[in-house]
């Protein structure tokens, strides 16, 4: 009996390792090429290790300005999303109303819509109202596109905070806003962290939205500039492309690791996908 379960475990391990080996190849390419003085398109052990690729891309034009733009766009968008979602989730979670159910259904419906499809009309609309090629316009759109999911997650997390804790504060004369800020949000810290990190990661990796709504090269976030710098030039220096990819990806990988460590894997799905 014992040997049979060992065989089964070995079979499962082998299967997983095979998939892991296939999945790791592209990742290995980017890490190894970033350190390789003569990188090409193949995965290979570098002849020597060099930081030249990183030195070459760590300039204001290639790295710092686009990353700063990304930070402004995604930071602004995330702040707006989290603030609006927290405010909106409060009445949905705390008060009974006939309108809650239709509102939540609409929100869930909007969560599923393919945002890619609205980008052409958003562009046309932004041209009409002079929001095209502005940071604030892009931030507003980012926030609106992320809000449905953020409200849904936030409401589910807020439902987990017992109402009794607030009632004490209410009898002491605190307003709803005060109890949200002082009692509910601090108690659902991990939930707020999940919504924040999830929104930020989604915006950081988004290519299509800034690609459509921003035009001036100085305003481009890393998601778009990486394409301009490397995709449109005749000869591509693959080592530098890999180095820049590593720099640009590190923040979101780190954020994911930190949050997943604290809350267990698959955190982003916890409140969202209950099948």
């Amino acid at each position: 009996m014992r040997s049979r379960s060992t065989t089964r475990r070995l079979a499962a391990d082998t299967g997983l390792l095979a998939v892991a080996a296939a999945f790791v190849l592209p990742l290995a390419w980017v890490v190894l090429s970033a350190l390789d003085p003569r990188a090409d398109l193949r995965v290979k052990v570098p002849g020597g290790v060099t930081w030249d690729n990183f030195d070459a891309v760590l300039t204001e034009e290639i790295t710092f300005t686009p990353l700063l733009n990304s930070l402004l766009l995604c930071g602004g968008g995330t702040l707006l999303t989290v603030a609006c979602a927290a405010l909106a989730a409060y009445p949905l979670s705390r008060f009974r109303s006939r309108l809650n159910r239709p509102f939540l259904l609409t929100i869930l419906f909007a969560t599923c819509l393919p945002i890619t499809a609205v980008m052409v009309p958003v562009y046309a609309l932004f041209v009409q109202v002079n929001l095209i090629d502005t940071m604030q316009g892009t931030i507003f759109f980012f926030a609106a596109s992320q809000l449905p999911f953020a409200i849904w997650l936030m409401k589910n997390f807020m439902d987990g905070v017992p109402k009794e804790l607030e009632e004490a504060a209410w009898t002491d004369g605190a307003s709803s806003f005060q109890s949200l800020l002082r009692i509910v949000l601090p108690l659902m810290g991990p939930g707020v962290a999940v919504v924040t990190v999830f929104s930020f990661v989604m915006m950081w990796g988004n290519f299509f939205v800034p690609f459509m709504l921003l035009l001036t090269p100085d305003q481009m976030p890393a998601a778009v500039s990486i394409n301009e710098f490397f995709g449109n030039r005749g000869t591509v220096v693959y080592g530098q492309l890999a180095a820049f990819s590593v720099i640009y990806s590190t923040p979101v990988i780190l954020l994911y690791v930190v949050v997943a460590r604290r809350l267990g894997g698959g955190f982003a799905l916890g409140g969202a996908v209950k099948g």
């Binding site: 475990r9 393919p114 499809a117």
Partner: protein
């Protein structure tokens, strides 16, 4: 009065959603019926269903519809879904270090920014890339995948990037099956595949339908990955609907026509969303 003050915190979210999400959707439904162009035209005029008639007579559009179907079926319904379920099932039995390692690698592919994932898989599938190096080493015929079979290359890219989602959904679902049930089946002598088919799959069927719905919607709106890898080419051989829409609207300046295609995409997406909501009916 109390209702109004209680609903007040909803205002910022509702205003944002109305202005920047509902607004564009309504505008989309309007310009899809006009001949709006990017340049050189004073007033757009209402042309009824003309854009849609053009679309269904346009071979490039029908090609994009077909490629979108292939892309969705191959990469989402078959690739991500099956591989995600297989990974989740194997993880139930595998030893912990290997489970953690594989999970980490698959999730890393998912967390990477879309454009970076596109570059990595471009490098992987190029003529001089890793895939052909491995094929050479095995003495198998190599080819320029991005040129001969671009739709298959981008489909595999989407499997690489998206499988983690299905894996996480199914891992959560499998963890919720009580141990006693699988053990009882084992005692009764049901083998691995039969247990999977008769016990596990029926028990997680709600997760399966939810997952299929969500990954279909995600796959329908993939743009950056394909754009970076092939730009929809060569000759439209990997041009799915989002790329077709972009080309018509911006490279050919036919905003009205591009928007009509976008509206079709939105309608398909909405139908899927409604089905998804019905599946979740008991939850809200």
């Amino acid at each position: 009065m109390r209702t109004i003050s209680r609903a007040l915190p909803l205002t910022p979210a509702v205003v944002l959603l109305l202005l920047f999400l509902a607004g564009p959707i309504a505008y989309c439904a309007y310009i899809a019926f006009t001949d709006l162009q990017l340049t050189g035209q004073a007033e757009e005029s209402f042309i009824g269903f003309e854009n849609f008639r053009t679309a269904f007579g346009d071979e490039a559009f029908l090609n994009a519809v077909w490629l979108t179907l292939v892309f969705t079926v191959v990469s989402a319904l078959i690739g991500q879904n099956t591989l995600g379920l297989a990974l989740a099932a194997l993880m139930q039995r595998a030893s912990k270090p290997i489970r953690t390692l594989t999970g980490g690698i698959v999730i890393a592919a998912w967390v990477l920014p879309e454009v970076v994932a596109g570059f990595l898989l471009y490098a992987f599938f190029r003529r001089e890339g890793t895939l052909n190096a491995i094929l050479d080493w095995l003495h198998l015929p190599s080819q320029n995948w991005l040129f001969t079979l671009p739709i298959l290359a981008v489909s595999f890219a989407n499997v690489w990037r998206g499988t983690a989602f299905s894996m996480l959904v199914y891992s959560a679902a499998l963890n919720e099956i009580p141990k006693e049930i699988t053990e009882a089946a084992e005692v009764d002598g049901a083998g691995g595949w039969r247990r999977m088919w008769h016990i596990t799959l029926p028990m997680i069927r709600r997760s399966i339908s939810t997952n299929l719905m969500l990954i279909t919607l995600q796959t329908l709106s993939v743009f950056g990955l394909i754009w970076v890898m092939t730009r929809g080419g060569p000759g439209g051989k990997s041009q799915t609907l989002p790329l077709f829409m972009y080309e018509e609207a911006f490279q050919k300046s036919m905003i009205g026509y591009g928007t009509a295609v976008a509206l079709l995409l939105l309608v398909v997406g909405s139908l899927f969303s409604v089905v998804y909501l019905r599946l979740l009916r008991t939850e809200v």
